[in-house]
C-alpha cells in the first residue's frame, strides 16, 4: 500500500468498488441506495472514532455525542434560522469540533478507563441538555422533516453527495494517518510513556487527535441530517456510542477500512436478519463472540492477514519494498 511507484492491488480493488458504488442508484432498488448511504454515514463516524481508538489508543467511549451535536447544530440552523444551507452544513463540524475541544481538554488529563468514563459523564450532561431543553431542541421528540435544498431532495442526489463527501473524508483521514502526525499518534497509542521520553507532548497530540476525530464525526452528523432529515436525542445517548465502538472493534480497529466493514456487517445484519426474527441481537452477539475468539484483530484484520503473504510475494517479484506499516488496508 505504501508502494510509491505503482498503484497496488488495493488501489485497484478500491477503484472497482468505487465505480460500482457510482452505478448503484440508477440500477439497484432504492432501498439499497438508502442503506448504502446509511452505511457510509455510520462508517464515517466509526472511522473517525477509530482514528482515536484504533490509531490513538484512547478510550473514546462517547463519540456519538459529537455526531449528535453536529446533527443538531445543522438541524437547528436549517429549521430555526433563515441562514443559507451551507452555513448549516458548516455549523455541524464546527460545533462538533468545539465540543470535542471542551470535552477532550478535560479527558486527556486521564487515562484509559478513567478517560472513557469521564467522557461518558460529560457527554451524558450534553445529552441531558438536549433531552431537556424542549423549546430549543425539541426534547426527546427531536426535529423532523428538515428541509433540504432542492438539489439534495432526491435520494439519489443525496446519495451522490454523501458518497462524495465520504470519499473525500476517507482520503483526508488516510492522508492524516500517513502524515507525521498520524505516525506520532500511533506511537502514542503504542507507548505514551516512551513518547514523552522522546519529547512529544502526549496530551496535546491526543487532544489534536480528538479534534480531528470529532471534526469528521461532525461531517458525518451533517450527512446524517441530509440522509434522514431527522434528528433526535438518541443520537447523543451512550448506547449509540457503544454501538459505534463495537463496529470499530468488529471490523478491525488496527486497520483503516475495518470500521466500514464492521458498520456494514452490523447494519446489514439488523436490516436483513431483522426481517426474519426479533432476536437479531442474539445472532449479533453470537457473531461478535465468534469474531473475538477466532478473529482477534477483527474481520478486516483477518482479511489483511490472509492477503499479506500474497502481497509480499507480488512485491518481491516487482522488487518492491515490503512496507507493511501500521496502516493496513
Amino acid at each position: 500500500m505504501g508502494d510509491k511507484r505503482k498503484p497496488s492491488n488495493a488501489v485497484w480493488i478500491l477503484g472497482i468498488i468505487f465505480l460500482f458504488l457510482i452505478f448503484i442508484p440508477p440500477f439497484a432498488p432504492r432501498f439499497f441506495t438508502y442503506i448504502l448511504g446509511l452505511i457510509f454515514v455510520t462508517s464515517l463516524v466509526a472511522m473517525s472514532l477509530n482514528l482515536v481508538v484504533g490509531f490513538g489508543g484512547m478510550f473514546q467511549f462517547h463519540h456519538g455525542v459529537f455526531y449528535g451535536v453536529s446533527a443538531y447544530a445543522t438541524a437547528l440552523v436549517l429549521t430555526k434560522t433563515s441562514l443559507a444551507t451551507w452555513i448549516g452544513f458548516m455549523a455541524g463540524p464546527i460545533v462538533a469540533t468545539l465540543t470535542g475541544l471542551i470535552i477532550g481538554w478535560f479527558c486527556v488529563r486521564l487515562t484509559r478507563l478513567y478517560f472513557g468514563m469521564l467522557q461518558i459523564s460529560l457527554g451524558s450532561l450534553l445529552w441531558a441538555i438536549v433531552f431537556r431543553w424542549y423549546s430549543f431542541t425539541g426534547g426527546d421528540d427531536g426535529i423532523h422533516g428538515i428541509r433540504m435544498p432542492s438539489l439534495l431532495m432526491s435520494l439519489n442526489n443525496s446519495y451522490y453527495f454523501i458518497l462524495a463527501i465520504f470519499i473525500l473524508s476517507l482520503l483526508l483521514m488516510y492522508k492524516i494517518l500517513k502524515s507525521p502526525f498520524g505516525n506520532t499518534l500511533q506511537a502514542i497509542r503504542d507507548n505514551p510513556q516512551r513518547c514523552e521520553a522522546v519529547g512529544i507532548n502526549v496530551r496535546r497530540y491526543q487532544l489534536l487527535g480528538i479534534l480531528i476525530a470529532t471534526f469528521f464525526a461532525g461531517v458525518a452528523g451533517v450527512l446524517f441530517v441530509i440522509l434522514e432529515r431527522s434528528v433526535f436525542a438518541d443520537l447523543l445517548f451512550w448506547v449509540l456510542s457503544l454501538e459505534i465502538l463495537i463496529m470499530c472493534l468488529l471490523g478491525g480497529w488496527f486497520t483503516f477500512f475495518g470500521p466500514i466493514l464492521g458498520t456494514a456487517i452490523i447494519i446489514s445484519l439488523r436490516t436483513f436478519v431483522g426481517k426474519y426474527t426479533e432476536y437479531w441481537t442474539l445472532i449479533l452477539g453470537i457473531i461478535l463472540i465468534l469474531v473475538i475468539f477466532f478473529l482477534p484483530e477483527g474481520v478486516m484484520g483477518y482479511v489483511q492477514e490472509v492477503l499479506k503473504p500474497k502481497m509480499k510475494e507480488v512485491k518481491q517479484e516487482e522488487k518492491g519494498i515490503d512496507a507493511s506499516s501500521g496502516i493496513g488496508f
Binding site: I16, A28, D140, D141, G145, R229, S230, L240, I267, E278
Partner: protein, 407 residues
C-alpha cells in the same frame, strides 16, 4: 494475481446484485401488504404485543372470509428496539423493499414523528397505533398520517374534565422527564386551569425515564402537602410509581391521578399489590363498557392468547377495522382513494362507534375515568366508579388544531 482479484471481486458483486434483485421480480396481484414497525423488545412490549395480537385476530377473521376486494391482507412486523434510527431505517425498508401498501405502528414518539415525515414524502398512509404525542395529528399532522390512539392533548382534556369535578385545589405535578410526561402534564394542567380557575400548582418534580426508586420523590411531595398529585408518567415508571405509592402509603394520604393507572397493563403485573384509591383514565377496560360487543371481543382475545386484552388491543382492533373498511369503500388498493375513504369513516368497536375525524385524522375515542379498587374474583385490582368522558369532551377542537398548525 491482479486478474484473480478482478475476477473474484466482479463475481462477488455479481452474486450480491442477483441476491438483491431476486425479491423484486414482477409483482402479480398478490395480497395487500401492511407493514408494522414497532418495539417488540423491552418494556414497551406490554403495549405493543396487544396491538399486534388484536390486529392479527381481526385480520385473520377478514382473511377467513376471503379478504378485502378479493385479496388477502398480509402483514409483516419489524422490531425497532425503541430506537429512532432503527425505526426509521426499518420503516424505509418496509416501504422501499417490501413495498407495503400501508404502514402501521410505533410507540416511540420521536420515531413516529420521523416516520410520519417520511411517509408524507413517500405518500404512504401511516396509521399510528400507540404513540401519544399530540404533534402527530396536531402540529405535524398531514394527509398521510392517522392515529387510532389517544394523544396527550386528549388525555389532558379528559383528565381535566374528570378532575374539575373533584374538590382539590392545591396540586403538585410529578412525572417522567421526557416529552410525553411534560406534554401530558401541560395538557392536564392547562385544561384544568381553564375549567376551574382557582386551582394552584404548588410544585413539580421530574425524574429520569426508568428511574427505579421513586420513594425520594414521593417523600418530597408529601412534605409539601398538596390536595392532589398529577402524575405524568407511563410505561415501566408506572409500575414503579404505583409500587412506591403503595410502600410509602402515599396513595392512602394524598389522592393521586395517573393516566392509565386504572389500565390493565399497569394493574396486571402488580397483582394485588397495587395501591387502592388511585384515580386513573383509560381508553379501554376488558370489563367496561359492559356491552355484548366488548364481552365478545374480550372473550375472543382471551381464547386466542390466554390473557385479557389491554388497551393496546383496542387500538389494534380499531386499526384493522379502519383499514379493511376503508379499503372496501375505496374499491381498490389506491392510496389516495384509501385516504379519502378513511377520512370521516365510522366503525363499530368494543367501546362503541368510533369516528376517524376527517380534519386531523384522529380517531375520536371516549375516555373512562375510574378509581383503583380490590374487587373479589379478580387476581388484580380493577377500576371502579367509572365515569365516561365522551369523545366530544376529549377531542381538541378543530380551531385548536388549526392554531397549532399555524393556519
Amino acid at each position: 494475481m491482479k486478474r484473480i482479484l478482478w475476477v473474484s471481486s466482479l463475481c462477488l458483486w455479481g452474486v450480491i446484485i442477483t441476491l438483491i434483485c431476486l425479491p423484486f421480480g414482477a409483482k402479480a396481484q398478490g395480497p395487500i401488504k401492511i407493514g408494522i414497525v414497532d418495539t417488540y423488545s423491552g418494556p414497551p412490549t406490554t403495549y405493543t404485543y396487544d396491538v399486534r395480537d388484536a390486529f392479527k385476530l381481526a385480520i385473520d377473521e377478514v382473511n377467513a372470509k376471503g379478504g378485502v376486494l378479493g385479496r388477502k391482507i398480509e402483514f409483516t412486523t419489524r422490531d425497532d428496539k425503541f430506537k429512532v434510527d432503527i425505526c426509521l431505517s426499518m420503516a424505509k425498508e418496509l416501504i422501499m423493499m417490501e413495498k407495503v401498501d400501508i404502514l402501521m405502528g410505533t410507540i416511540n414518539s420521536a420515531a413516529t414523528l420521523a416516520v410520519s415525515e417520511y411517509c408524507k414524502g413517500e405518500k404512504i398512509p401511516f396509521i399510528v397505533t400507540f404513540s401519544k404525542s399530540d404533534k402527530i395529528t396536531g402540529e405535524k399532522g398531514h394527509r398521510y398520517v392517522f392515529s387510532v390512539t389517544e394523544n396527550t392533548a386528549m388525555i389532558g382534556k379528559a383528565a381535566a374534565a374528570g378532575l374539575a369535578k373533584r374538590p382539590y385545589v392545591k396540586y403538585w405535578i410529578a412525572g417522567d422527564d421526557y416529552e410525553y410526561g411534560h406534554a401530558l402534564a401541560d395538557g392536564v394542567w392547562g385544561n384544568l386551569k381553564r375549567l376551574k380557575p382557582d386551582v394552584q400548582l404548588i410544585g413539580q418534580s421530574w425524574w429520569k425515564v426508568g428511574e427505579p426508586e421513586l420513594t425520594p420523590y414521593l417523600t418530597a411531595i408529601s412534605a409539601a402537602k398538596p390536595d392532589a398529585v398529577i402524575f405524568a408518567t407511563g410505561g415501566a415508571s408506572m409500575v414503579n410509581a404505583m409500587k412506591a405509592a403503595k410502600a410509602t402509603g402515599f396513595a392512602e394520604r394524598i389522592p393521586m391521578f395517573i393516566h392509565t393507572a386504572t389500565e390493565h397493563s399497569t394493574l396486571a403485573p402488580l397483582g394485588l399489590d397495587a395501591p387502592e384509591k388511585v384515580i386513573g383514565t383509560s381508553n379501554y377496560h376488558f370489563y367496561y363498557p359492559d356491552t355484548p360487543k366488548n364481552k365478545a371481543f374480550a372473550k375472543a382475545f382471551k381464547d386466542a392468547y390466554g390473557r385479557e386484552p389491554k388497551v393496546g388491543a383496542l387500538y389494534g382492533y380499531l386499526a384493522a377495522q379502519f383499514i379493511t373498511r376503508a379499503l372496501t369503500k375505496a374499491g381498490k388498493m389506491d392510496r389516495e382513494r384509501f385516504i379519502d375513504a378513511l377520512e370521516g369513516m365510522k366503525v363499530d368497536s368494543p367501546v362503541g362507534e368510533i369516528e376517524m375525524r376527517a380534519y386531523d385524522h384522529q380517531a375520536m375515542l371516549p375516555m373512562y375515568m375510574g378509581v383503583t379498587k380490590k374487587v373479589a374474583g379478580y387476581p388484580f385490582l380493577i377500576a371502579t366508579d367509572i365515569v365516561t368522558i365522551p369523545a366530544s369532551e376529549v377531542m381538541p377542537s378543530i380551531e385548536e388544531i388549526k392554531k397549532v398548525r399555524g393556519q
